[in-house]
């Protein structure tokens, strides 16, 4: 399962996707909206993306991880949309393998590649009414 969605993420569904009797380890990364950036309190986030384009790039990121760890099962869902409040789940990466090392390594790799290349844009709106696009000088 590789998906960019505006629907809430079902973590258990991702767990099921990577579970199997030959899997001795499942690693789950769950990214959530943080309530503070620096000294500013976050009111909500907006994640903007063009779904098809972002899913194309996500597939390439996962293919890259499977070339490095061919035995690992992967499921990734990234949430997009407006008004995502502190505590809400925005990203889940599930990886599984026979032994823990590969599942951990693949999961960390996927997270870093997603942060570097997945075409999703984060707008943080603060309690004081100001806002900020992540990575942009504004």
């Amino acid at each position: 399962m590789l998906k960019i969605t505006s629907d809430p993420i079902n973590v258990e569904e991702l767990l099921r996707q990577v579970s199997a009797e030959d899997r001795g380890a499942i690693v789950l990364f769950v990214g959530t909206v943080r309530n503070r950036t620096g000294d500013k309190k976050v009111k909500y986030l907006t994640y903007e993306a063009e779904k098809e384009f972002a899913e194309n790039i996500l597939s390439q990121i996962v293919e890259k991880s499977l070339r490095k760890w061919p035995g690992v099962k992967v499921a990734v869902v990234h949430r997009i949309g407006e008004n995502l409040h502190p505590g809400e789940i925005t990203l889940v990466i599930a990886t599984s393998s026979a032994h823990r090392e590969e599942a951990y390594a693949a999961n960390r790799f996927l997270l870093e590649e997603i942060k570097k290349d997945l075409p999703v844009w984060k707008k943080e709106v603060f309690i004081d009414g100001s806002y900020h696009w992540s990575g942009w000088n504004n």
Partner: protein, 85 residues
């Protein structure tokens, strides 16, 4: 010479979409069309600083493009810093 020019639709996202007040702009570019030319022309249209331009990448619908490759598509994506995760 005008007939040799190529029209390129540049899709905009996040801070660029906000700045342009539109989700795309159309550029007329002389061949060969390269990411460098697109970045310079877009920079002029959107009044971007050099510091902002160096943060941008170009992609087709399928993948990121390297700086020196010729763009064959009629529609491309201008990518400001991503913030997923």
């Amino acid at each position: 010479m005008e007939g040799m020019m190529k029209k390129i639709k540049v899709k905009l996202f996040g801070p660029l979409r906000e700045k342009a007040k539109s989700d795309c702009i159309e550029l007329t570019v002389s061949p060969p069309v390269t990411p460098g030319k697109i970045l310079n022309l877009t920079g002029e249209v959107l009044n971007l600083t050099d510091d902002e331009k160096v943060l941008l990448r170009i992609a087709s619908r399928e993948r990121y493009l390297s700086q020196d490759e010729e763009i064959m598509e009629n529609e491309i994506y201008l990518i400001p810093p991503v913030g997923g995760g």
